[in-house]
């Protein structure tokens, strides 16, 4: 065994370039795979962990005032229920923070204090049979003038323990001191769920109920069978049976909450896993390529080794070790790198749940990556190495290189037909002289080009998405919220009176009970022409008459509806017939939402008036000046917000990750071309010497080598670009599906003809650039050195 090691280490010391290429490629592949696997094992685990610890409720069920507390308490004994907490009294209130941070003084002077919505729950203890609240700051409620908030709400609004919130009750303000912050595993973060829960002692709650409020109840349930939303729906049936009709309000399922926590990771994971597979595959190709080349270059050495007594098995060992040593060293660097890069994403998830960050090392992930790398490298190396071991030593030493295959000759004959200059023909012949190697290289280039194409396309598409009102929620600059007592007509008059107003769309929400779906569907009702804000249907058309509706794909799937179908349901108990006229894009409620005209809501609730007003301003209007003017008309009863269309952090993360991965694979592809050209050039060194002796000028030699690289680059590019375009379409659809939507009716022209042509040319250029170094080497090595026998 020592003899094998001695030769292996000596070879590694001399063939540094080859070791560097392998090391680089494996490092990138191992890093990417570690990142993906750590994310897979780490982040999706965090939520489940917290849920188990806090005895999370499978369902947080809201009830209207129709049921009594006795009846509700009784539901705890319904079949299938393993634990229940509550009933707790609840009410939706508005609060104003008492403290004004110095940099907001001007804003408060102009607009009045911010009005925040909360759903307060009267609860005596944070612990219980279900839905424990984990305290992360301050303490639990001790007196009646205290309130406990969710941590994400406190963070979002920059509130701290000890500050005061003034609850708006009619025309009075009831001060509540923030006693503590908790994490509720049955609650999404503040950005995705509004209003957030807040807790007061049960005795405090009645003091916060204002005129016009509709207080209700809430209970937390844990069930025996809770794996899917369908199971949960079934679990609710016996509970519903125990209560009067219409008692059930909104149901929050833990599955939706969990998906929400995991969404960023889920989106990113989609790419990471796919790309890791590509990267490892490309690494395998490169290793196989390198080993084949090393074998060919080392033919003489292998012959000598066998002559002095190395068995074929030992030859294989040596070649495999030559590849494994740099690969394992690369893992030592690449794996920690992957772990490091995974930290932000993994801790983000844990942090949001108040969990301590998971261990920096995910042992299963690391072991899996090491095992994967070793297997891939060893197998890719062993196969060509085994062939080498079986050759006759005499042939090996004398010929110094393996004979060309017959197939290569046939290809060369095909090339003869084209009347190209001889240097180009020779270069082309060189590219295919070893078809297997050419194949490996072309595939590696294909992968690189495909991922770059995909990344470029994704970036374009996401940018379009951010700017297209059909995808970003609508093009409006001002949002006004109206308190109940301020008249709708007066506000509309004020807004219309402003010269900068281009369009006003008022908005309200209500729950719609759809036949065939047990869980009510949150719906948005718009008054005014929503299409003036840029909203539009991707399929079919926008609604224009009462009863017409548009919805994202998730709703359509759940209700088994297609565009054009009619369906029935009820709003506020009133039965109605609806017509699905179009499909839209909206990620709210994971796409489980309906959009309809306000006239539809009026049929069920005639007195209903919208509370939200979205204003689109004329071009080059100043939103701030507008907001001040509107707010001055009534400070206390209006909240005026300026819309900031900032890119969501999810999109930014996705964009960055994809770009990095594309670069990684592009580097791998370039390494593949460089390596192949290097091997070809080294192998052909005698032929090149003969050519130079016969009169080939250095420039012609460079052209010859560059041609062989350009051809491989061209093939990889031509095949890789359609692959990338297809990948783009597939992944985008996958992403959209994750948030309950589809984009297939919309063909985003992310790829214009000039762009594609540019990508092909770029691919060829990168290939040629990678070949220049070996080309110069071929052109300028002295002829005599080569032809001089040893």
């Amino acid at each position: 065994m020592t003899a094998v090691w001695r030769k292996t280490l000596a070879s590694l010391r001399r063939r540094r370039l080859q070791a560097v290429i392998i090391g680089l490629v494996v490092l990138l592949a191992a890093g990417t795979a570690t990142l993906a696997l750590t994310l897979l094992f780490g982040s999706t685990n965090a939520y489940d962990q917290a849920f188990a610890q806090q005895r999370g409720a499978h369902v947080l069920q809201e009830f209207t005032g129709g049921a009594t507390t006795v009846q509700l308490a009784h539901t705890a004994r319904a079949p299938g229920v393993t634990a229940a907490a509550g009933p707790w009294r609840t009410d939706n209130i508005t609060v104003e923070p008492a403290r004004v941070p110095p940099d907001e003084r001007q804003m408060v002077a102009d607009f009045g204090p911010p009005k925040l919505g909360l759903e307060v729950v009267g609860r005596a203890s944070p612990a219980g049979p279900a839905d424990d609240l984990r305290l992360v700051a301050g303490h639990w409620l001790r007196s009646g003038n205290q309130i406990v908030l969710t941590r994400s709400f406190a963070l979002a609004q920059s509130l701290a323990v000890g500050e005061t919130l003034n609850a708006v009750v009619g025309s009075r303000r009831v001060p509540l001191i923030i006693a503590g912050e908790v994490i509720d595993v049955d609650e999404m973060d503040a950005a995705n769920q509004s209003p957030q829960h807040a807790w007061v002692l049960p005795a405090t709650l009645p003091r916060l109920i204002g005129p016009g409020d509709q207080p209700g109840y809430e209970m937390a349930y844990r069930f025996r069978h809770a794996a899917t939303n369908a199971a949960l729906r079934a679990d609710l049936v016996p509970i519903k049976a125990l209560l009067p009709a219409g008692a059930l309000g909104f149901t929050r399922s833990y599955i939706d909450v969990r998906n929400n926590y995991n969404i960023t990771s889920a989106l990113v994971l989609t790419f990471l896993l796919a790309f890791s597979v590509f990267a490892l595959g490309a690494a395998a190709l490169i290793v196989a390529n390198i080993v084949t080349g090393a074998v060919l270059a080392g033919f003489r050495d292998i012959g000598i080794m066998k002559a002095i007594g190395f068995t074929p098995g030992q030859v294989v060992q040596m070649l495999v070790l030559q590849m494994l040593v740099p690969a394992l060293i690369a893992c030592v660097v690449g794996i920690p790198l992957g772990l490091l890069l995974s930290r932000p994403l993994v801790t983000q998830s844990a942090d949001a749940l108040g969990l301590p960050p998971p261990a920096a090392l995910s042992l299963p992930a690391v072991l899996l990556v090491i095992a994967g790398v070793v297997t891939v490298v060893a197998v890719s190396a062993a196969l060509p190495a085994w062939r080498a071991g079986r050759l006759s030593p005499v042939r090996a030493i004398v010929s110094g290189t393996a004979p060309q295959g017959r197939k290569a000759v046939g290809l060369a004959r095909a090339l003869d037909r084209l009347h190209l200059p001889p240097t180009v023909r020779l270069g082309a012949g060189q590219a295919f002289a070893r078809p297997l190697r050419a194949g490996f290289t072309a595939v590696a280039v294909l992968v690189g080009v495909a991922t770059v194409t995909f990344a470029v396309g994704l970036r374009t598409t996401l940018m379009h998405g951010l700017n297209d009102p059909a995808f970003n929620g609508g093009d409006y600059q001002i949002e006004v919220s109206r308190l109940m007592q301020y008249p709708d007509a007066r506000l509309m008059h004020t807004l219309r009176a402003q010269p900068q107003t281009q369009a006003i769309v008022a908005r309200d929400w209500a729950s719609v009970q759809v036949n065939g779906i047990s869980q009510p569907v949150q719906s948005v009702f718009t008054r005014g022409d929503a299409t003036k804000l840029g909203l539009r249907a991707l399929q079919g058309r926008w609604y224009a008459a009462p009863g017409e509706a548009v919805a994202p794909e998730a709703f359509m799937k759940e209700a088994h509806l297609r565009v054009g179908d009619y369906f029935t349901g009820s709003i506020n108990g009133r039965r109605l017939r609806f017509h699905l006229v179009g499909m839209m894009f909206d990620t709210a409620e994971f796409g489980r939402i309906l959009y309809m005209d306000f006239s539809t809501l009026h049929r069920a609730m005639p007195g209903e008036v919208p509370a939200d007003y979205l204003v689109r301003l004329r071009p080059r209007s100043d939103p701030t000046a507008y907001a001040i003017r509107v707010n001055r008309t009534s400070r206390a009863d209006l909240t005026v917000n300026i819309q900031n269309n900032t890119a969501s952090s999810v999109i930014a993360t996705v964009n960055d990750v994809v770009l990095v991965l594309a670069l990684v694979l592009a580097v791998i592809a370039a390494a593949a071309v460089f390596n192949t050209v290097l091997l070809n050039t080294r192998e052909r060194v005698r032929d090149t010497a003969v050519l130079k002796a016969v009169g080939m000028a250095p420039r012609q030699a460079i052209l010859m080598v560059a041609t062989s690289a350009a051809i491989l680059g061209l093939i990889g590019g031509i095949l890789g670009i359609p692959a990338g375009v297809v990948l783009h379409g597939v992944i985008l659809q996958l992403m959209a599906n994750l948030v309950g939507n589809t984009i297939s009716p919309l063909q985003y022209q992310a790829f214009s003809a000039p762009l594609l042509l540019g990508l092909v040319i770029a691919g060829m250029l990168v290939a040629v650039l990678g070949a220049l170094l070996p080309a110069r080497w071929a052109a300028y090595t002295g002829v005599a050195e080569v032809l001089h026998a040893e």
Binding site: P403, Q404, A408, V409, A412, P421, P422, T423, L426, G429, A433, R686, D687, V690, L691, K692, A693, V694, G695, M696, A697, P698, R699, Q700, Y780, G782, V783, A784, E785, L787, H788
Partner: protein, 251 residues
């Protein structure tokens, strides 16, 4: 009939000449002087052999005379043009026009047919191939029926004949042959040497052949003997036995 080679023949101007030619390899302790202050000239239309034991510097001398390598000091002149002042590109052009090669091994490009190997120098230079001359040449080397074969399908002797044809096709001023029979059996060796002799006698080529084989050298008009980097003897035509005697004394 193939035309005479392209040399401007003035009565005594040599085709190839070397003056004070020295070539050193390596550095310090391991430095080796492959050639030491060699001076030699070859006349047009002659067949010369350069002989010597291994390490005598004969291959090095050939590489330098052919412009395949640059000397440490001294000059080489081919057909009146001094090689020292030429850059890589000009040197290549000169070789293209004036020099032909036959090596001991690896003469031919394995993926090209015999015919393509022969016409390679012309095609590299971008010149047209004269079909009639090509056919005559193929017949002269006796390979007309094998011109579509690839080197792997030819015997060692046949490969060398292809190499000779390639060297002849550009009608160079001088052909250098480095151990052309070194790898061949006796029969093939004779064929190759015959061919080379006829190239000189019938076509007026100038050939400088490096060899350690006495039988081969006996075909030449002049034999230059090298030992340890210097010319030690310069004889006219010798028989094989005479050559062996000289070699015996040298060692």
């Amino acid at each position: 009939m193939l035309e005479a080679p392209d040399t401007t023949v003035t009565s005594a101007r040599p085709v190839v000449a070397a003056e004070h030619l020295t070539r050193l390899y390596g550095e310090g302790q391991a430095q080796v002087a492959a050639l030491r202050d060699v001076e030699v000239a070859f006349q047009p239309g002659t067949f010369s052999a350069v002989m010597g034991p291994s390490g005598s510097g004969k291959s090095t001398l050939m590489h330098l005379l052919a412009g395949l390598d640059r000397p440490t000091s001294g000059t080489v002149t081919i057909d009146g043009v001094e090689l020292n002042g030429l850059n890589d590109k000009k040197l290549t052009l000169l070789r293209r026009q004036k020099v032909g090669f036959v090596f001991q091994f690896f003469n031919l490009l394995p993926m090209l047919t015999a015919e393509e190997n022969i016409t390679l120098p012309l095609r590299i230079a971008g010149e047209r191939v004269d079909e009639a001359s090509l056919r005559q040449l193929l017949e002269a080397v006796g390979l007309a029926d094998r011109k579509e074969h690839r080197p792997a399908e030819l015997s060692g002797g046949q490969q060398q004949r292809v190499a000779i044809a390639r060297a002849l096709i550009t009608r160079p001023a001088v052909i250098f042959a480095d151990e052309p029979t070194g790898n061949l059996d006796s029969q093939s060796s004779r064929e190759v040497l015959d061919m080379l002799r006829r190239a000189v006698d019938d076509l007026g080529q100038t050939i400088v052949m490096v060899t350690h084989d006495a039988q081969a050298a006996a075909v030449a008009d002049r034999i230059v003997f090298l030992e340890d980097g210097r010319i030690v003897r310069d004889e006219g035509h010798l028989t094989a036995d005479q050559i062996l005697d000289v070699m015996k004394v040298l060692r």
